[in-house]
């Protein structure tokens, strides 16, 4: 069977869910006739018609509002943000209306907000964002970010079936770069469970998204030095799967939390703090964090390379940990 890209896997998941359940519909900017800025929704309009594949004006707050209201009526909206950075334009209605609705009034809002995140493609300060930390701190939202095509399909299906709002982060660097041989039978990847991508006894790297690839590369280099790294791919960023994380740290006693968003106040802070709090006795070295610099994402490839964590930095940091 042909290999399926991360991007096609998301599309397959959307098509399967829209076919399975006619309450599922897609809404966003340029998702219909154009098929989406990255073509994730290509073909959906032809297949499901304009009533279920809705092109909107440039109004992120209206998109989320429409999703919330229709969810109250029993629909299962999948809202696309052309770039996840534009979530800043609907920050209020997403965090105050959608996220708090169930707790306040028992009015659940089953909806998915999906969009391309991440850098490494010279997107500049407004098209490279990794906003997970903002929403990790927002009770009522779940956050998912796959790193493989298999998970991309399984998680978008799980997100659509979830009864609460799910922020589905698609790393644009992975869209066409990673592929999997997907099973023919239907499957779902449950929200809330991390995956161990590589076994190792010497140190644990907790990461997700495109950084999983960097971590795997670093692990290869380190293996040549007989340093065996265990790599945890979080997959779900909220709620975090601390059982899997702590189990690994209990084994390795050394941990590096790696992510692409800026370091200060990033999701790595929560993970490292929780490990220090709950896994203090396991640790033989400080829980370390490696992330992007505390600046906006620069546009120039030269600058962006210096901004993001590199394989070399990962290798060096793990070495430090092991030698600690």
């Amino acid at each position: 069977m042909a290999e399926t890209t991360y991007l096609e896997a998301i599309r397959q998941g959307l098509v399967e869910e829209m076919t399975r359940d006619d309450r599922v519909y897609a809404i966003g900017e340029d998702i219909g006739a154009y098929g989406g800025a990255f073509k994730v929704t290509d073909g959906l309009l032809e297949r499901f018609g304009a009533s279920r594949v809705i092109d909107t004006p440039i109004s992120e707050t209206a998109i989320i509002g429409a999703a919330i209201g229709s969810a109250y009526l029993g629909m299962r909206p999948v809202a696309e943000l052309q770039f996840i950075d534009f979530v800043a334009c609907c920050f209020n209605i997403l965090t105050n209306f959608a996220a708090k609705s169930r707790y306040r009034c028992g009015a659940g809002v089953p909806m998915v907000v999906r969009g391309p995140c991440g850098g490494g493609v010279s997107g500049g300060p407004f098209h490279s964002g990794n906003p997970e930390a903002y929403f990790l701190h927002t009770p009522g939202l779940k956050i998912v970010e796959p790193s493989t095509a298999y998970d991309a399909k399984g998680l978008i299906k799980a997100a659509i079936r979830d009864d609460d709002p799910v922020l589905f982060l698609e790393h644009k660097y992975l869209y066409r770069r990673v592929k999997d041989d997907l099973p023919d039978e239907e499957y779902v990847v449950p929200i809330g469970r991390a995956a161990v991508r590589r076994q190792g006894d010497d140190a644990t790297i907790v990461t997700f998204g495109a950084m999983v690839l960097a971590a795997l590369d670093a692990a290869e280099c380190l293996a040549e030095e007989d340093i065996e790294v265990e790599i945890i791919d979080l997959r779900t960023l909220s709620p975090l799967d601390f059982d899997t994380i702590l189990e690994s740290v209990a084994k390795t006693s050394k941990v590096l939390v790696l992510h692409e968003a800026q370091r200060t106040g990033g999701i790595g802070a929560e993970i490292a703090a929780a490990i220090a709090e709950r896994g203090f006795e396991y640790l033989d070295a400080p829980p370390m964090r490696l992330a992007s610099k505390d600046t906006p994402t620069p546009y120039s490839p030269v600058l962006e390379a210096a901004f993001r964590p590199s394989v070399e930095q990962i290798v060096a940091t793990v070495r430090q940990l092991v030698e600690y």
């Binding site: 109004s59 509002g65 429409a66 009526l73 209020n92 009034c105």
Partner: protein, 363 residues
Amino acid sequence: MTTARPSGDLSRDQRLELYYYVRLTRDVEERLAVLYRQNKVVGGLYRSLGQEGESVASAYALAENDAVAALIRNLGSVLVQGVRPRAVFAQYMAKGSSPTRGRDLNLHFSHIPQGEGEPIIVGPISMLGDLIPVMAGVGLGARLRGRPLVAMTYIGDGGTSTGAFHEGMNFAAVQKLPLVVIAEDNKYAYSTPVSQQMAIAQIDQRAEAYGVSHEMVDGNDMLAVYDASKRAVDRARRGEGPSLIGVDTMRMRGHAEHDDMRYVSKPLLDAWEARDPIARYRAQLIEDELANETELVEIETMSRTFTEEEAALAEADPPPDAATVGDGVFAGGNLTPTVEIVQSPFGVKRGAPRHGAPVEAQR
């Protein structure tokens, strides 16, 4: 826009029912004011004194299973759609029996029924403007579910300045959604006069930017508000898209009870005092020979009695259980607040037997 006067088709019972609801609205708020002075209200009290008419008359144009989203000054709208006063008293006193189990304030509660028979009530959040896109979404959802439902919501003069209002109106217009927006020019947004809020002559002119049909009515003339609302609701149900109705009214109290309104001139208040919507509607009923003094007093007594009963019930309710605080952030929690929907003593709108105490209250 057509100038049909659907109020002409209202039966005597309906005309009296309208009076009952507008009285009930004022009675409930005055009871709340007493509770507020007794420090039994947690937080602030936001009155609709002087504007009760537009909330009641606009919501009265809805079918009983339509959707309405009230702002904090639209108590009348939710009462008309069947929310019992007890729920509102309980909300203001943060009781465990309140529709939000004490989690949110005043009219910040929702009722999202499973079936299609009951009214849909979408609670506001404090951030003004968001209800416009959300109710546009309710209209969109109704269309997608094949339900001939109309979504009505409200926005203050101040609220029309928010970006959310703009995005929601424009989206509803482009999608031709069954949305009716009542834009309330009550002269102030907190302390800010309309002249510092917008540089247009009439609030309904906001709709021009969207190609949304609009009109301006005397917000203290209940039948005029009903007429405009009914026309808009019918248009929406016919699939002709959203409307915005500007209502000219006046906030007769401070933004909240703590606000002494020193920024409002006495003459302005006096002028509007003379235009009180309830007094006007009452006089109209007599003039139209739909009721005599005795009958109206009977209705007023019914409203006051019901208000007292409901306030008493709510007062007796206990606060929420602290142990529930972490519950229900996500699905699966065992807490799903809902609102009890009651029938009016006239039951014209909700089809209950005429007269007699409200169905719920009889229990």
